[in-house]
């Protein structure tokens, strides 16, 4: 009997041991609901990269990774439930892919000592690491996106857009309102006229907004949309024959499924980005070989190279590189969330590293520091080619208006620090 118990205990320990040693990366995904079309490719890219690391490299630093997927349906309450139910599993970093969930998680992760990475979304002023110790939004944030769009217009108009009319068509939510302050500040600097056109959730009916655009004939339209709002806006723009090359979306309005329903008429539409597009990168060959061809892909394997798949894969790569940095810093392969936070704060991404990872020129080079959790805010521009059904980069990753954005980040983070009695500074 004793022998039997001992055998069972050893077996149980052996079964439990690898699970304890895993590096746990939760994926708060949404594969259902109104935003599933965007959530699925992102979640697939995120999952496939970690599967690649396990299959090709045996994990990170010799420790296998474990993905904990939890369905949020892009619902803030469900997102918080997912966080609460997975944080005890040794979660190293959360990437909720939702600004609403992010806002709810900021105080929670800070109290629990778990890092939160909100790449291109979330609370923009979290770039100030002296206030938001556990929140990171490198390499770019919403305000960089707004500034990147204006910089592109400046560049393509000989450096002068004074007197030009710009309309912002935005999702009438906290997310959609994010760029307004930045665009208003930039308006003071560059002298353009700004018209604000909110679109209520979900955004299926936008006739009023586009009739107003037809009446007022702005020179450019900038869009801050998500979900069905994107497809309808691009269709309505083509209906009123608004020139697509003068229509720029944020990176959440610039995926294949946003433009495909409008067909050929979407040709020339543009979107800002903080990572490259297409599947012409060696890392995708590895994903095909080690993940898709072996039947271990999260999806059907047909999303590789799509904008949001690439973004999910990029997010996973940044998490994995931060984990590697943490392992090197602390001299242990089995890192804790606190060590992961240190790794994220010391993360260095340069072109040599990106090339070695099979992603040459896939994203900008940047360093993270205690003071700057947002990176340099470099932004590029992509354009849709309807005939070939491909997005392509039409500019390099370029600097945004650090002066304006820096001041806004300082102001907003200072008010957050005051509201929450946070003493700003690097510890």
């Amino acid at each position: 009997m004793k022998m039997k118990f001992a055998t069972m205990a050893v077996t149980a320990m052996m079964a439990a041991a690898p699970a304890m040693a895993d590096l746990v990366f939760p994926s708060l995904s949404y594969r259902t609901g109104p935003y599933a079309a965007g959530g699925i490719p992102f979640a697939d890219g995120y999952a496939d990269y970690f599967t690649l690391l396990n299959e090709r490299d045996g994990g990170i630093g010799g420790v296998p990774t474990r993905l904990l997927e939890c369905e949020t349906g892009y619902n803030t309450a469900k997102g918080v439930e997912c966080y609460e139910s997975t944080k005890g599993e040794g979660a190293l970093v959360y990437q909720p892919l939702s600004t609403g969930i992010t806002y709810q998680l900021i105080p929670k992760v800070t109290a629990d000592g778990i890092p939160l990475h909100t790449m291109g979304y979330g609370r923009t002023s979290a770039a100030n690491g002296e206030v938001f110790s556990n929140v990171f939004n490198y390499p770019s944030n919403y305000w960089d996106g707004a500034s990147g769009a204006i910089n592109y217009l400046l560049e393509s108009n000989g450096g002068d857009i004074s007197g030009k009319k710009i309309a912002l068509v935005y999702h009438n939510s906290a997310y959609g309102k994010e760029p307004i302050r930045t665009l208003e500040e930039l308006q003071k600097k560059h002298g353009y006229e700004l018209t604000l056109l909110p679109v209520d959730h979900p955004g299926q009916e936008q006739k009023s907004q586009w009739l107003q655009i037809r009446r007022e004939r702005p020179d450019f339209v900038v869009m801050w949309g998500w979900g069905v709002m994107n497809q309808v806006a691009i269709q309505e723009a083509s209906n009123i024959r608004f020139p697509m090359e003068n229509f720029i979306g944020v990176w959440w309005s610039g995926a294949e499924h946003d433009v495909l329903p409008a067909g050929d008429k979407a040709n020339g539409y543009k979107a800002v980005t903080f990572h490259n597009v297409g599947r012409d990168f060696p890392v995708f060959d590895d994903i095909q070989k080690y993940v898709v061809d072996t039947g271990k892909a999260a999806g059907a394997g047909d999303q590789i190279g799509n904008v949001l798949y690439n973004r999910g894969m990029y997010a996973a790569m940044l998490a994995a590189e931060a984990a590697k940095t943490a392992q090197e810093m602390h001299g242990t392969a089995e890192i804790t969330p606190a060590m992961m936070r240190d790794g994220m704060e010391a993360l260095v991404i340069d072109e040599a590293k990106m090339t070695a990872l099979g992603m040459p020129n896939f994203g900008p080079s940047f360093n993270v520091s205690c003071e700057n959790h947002g990176g340099p805010g470099l932004v590029g521009m992509t354009q849709w080619d309807a005939a070939n059904q491909t997005w392509s980069m039409i500019s390099d990753f370029k600097e945004t208006d650090g002066e304006v954005i820096g001041a806004l980040v300082a102001e907003d983070s200072a008010s957050y620090a005051a509201e929450n009695n946070i003493e700003a500074g690097c510890k």
């Binding site: 604000l196 209520d200 006739k207 009023s208 269709q235 495909l260």
Partner: protein
């Protein structure tokens, strides 16, 4: 003509067109409510399911491909053929009739004589089931709806109304979306057909008899089962038409199921039991919300349409609780 009047007219015309699209969704609700007293929460999801089925059939997509591939290790996705739009619409209608039969056999047949709230709850369950079933069957990616309907502003209307500006360079002629014009024509045909069907056919009269009094209809030999399958099939057809029109605008995707939200104020205003009420209600809501957005929207920051539609419906309810064309219910105590 003053600029504001021209633009106001354009807004009214586009509001009428939007109203027709709302009415198309509301019609499905009315048909089922009229015949069975069930408020069909699943009507929006039926529009999504029918539109996804149509696109799937047209593209020759293998239904449940992901499930089959996961279970059998195969890699099938498409049959390799393309089905013409008209044939695909007919096949989709066949699927909707099957769905109607299944809904009747497996859900409502077992709930005869239950309270309306129980039936309503059953439709909520049906909506969630259909949502997941549709995703499993056709996938949740966004699909392009291409049945050959024209889209974009009509050049002809623009060119032939430009003179109304009397030389005003800021007026480019009226904008009317060709898809909206087609939707209006189809809605008109649909309403006439539905009215003719319910007034002049044996099945239509039986449907009205069931709507008036289930037990009296049963006593004269009308099969409740058959009538309800027929009504759900017709509602499925209306959902398909709404799914095609809305799907052409936004692509076929989950949000298509949310168009039901646009139908609710229309129903409140037009009444739950009147086909003409759904049309008139749709037109009033369409014009009302667009005019409000045009005139008051800029003063309050815009995005007024969603809430204004409900406010407008509520104002009507104060004066006519049964809606404009609804039946006045008098219960003796």
């Amino acid at each position: 003509m003053p600029e504001s009047l021209l633009y106001g007219t354009e807004v009214v015309l586009n509001g009428l067109m939007a109203g027709v699209l709302y009415a198309l969704v509301a019609l499905g609700f009315v048909l089922i409510y009229k015949a069975s007293g069930i408020f069909n929460y699943a009507q929006g999801v039926m529009a999504l399911f029918s539109a996804a089925t149509l696109v799937g059939i047209m593209k020759g997509q293998v239904p449940f491909a992901h499930l089959i591939n996961a279970a059998l290790g195969t890699e099938i996705h498409h049959f390799g053929w393309h089905v013409p739009a008209l044939l695909a619409i007919l096949l989709t209608m066949g699927v909707m009739v099957l769905l109607a039969w299944a809904v009747q056999k497996f859900v409502f047949r077992h709930l005869v004589n239950q309270e309306p709230i129980i039936l309503f709850m059953a439709t909520i369950g049906l909506a969630y089931f259909l949502e997941g079933f549709g995703d499993l069957m056709w996938g949740s990616d966004i699909k392009k709806m291409d049945v050959g309907l024209p889209q974009g502003g009509s050049f002809w209307i623009e060119e032939n109304t430009q003179w109304l500006g009397f030389g005003n360079e800021n007026f480019y002629g009226f904008f009317l979306d060709q898809l909206d014009l087609v939707a209006t024509a189809i809605a008109a045909v649909l309403v006439i057909a539905l009215v003719l069907f319910s007034q002049y056919t044996k099945q239509g009269r039986a449907m009205r008899a069931v709507a008036d009094d289930h037990q009296a209809a049963l006593s004269v030999g009308i099969s409740l089962n058959f009538i309800w399958v027929m009504v759900w099939s017709v509602a499925g057809f209306v959902a398909l038409v709404a799914g095609i029109m809305w799907g052409a605008k936004s692509g076929v995707q989950f949000s298509l199921s949310l168009i039901a939200l646009k139908a609710l104020p229309v129903l409140m205003l037009g009444g739950f039991t009147s086909i003409p009420g759904a049309i008139v209600g749709g037109l009033i809501i369409g014009v009302g919300e667009k005019l409000f957005e045009f005139t008051v929207g800029p003063l309050v920051g815009g995005a007024t349409e969603n809430w204004f539609a409900y406010v407008l419906a509520l104002v009507f309810l104060v004066f006519r609780p049964q809606g404009l064309f609804g039946e006045k219910i008098i219960e003796r105590v």
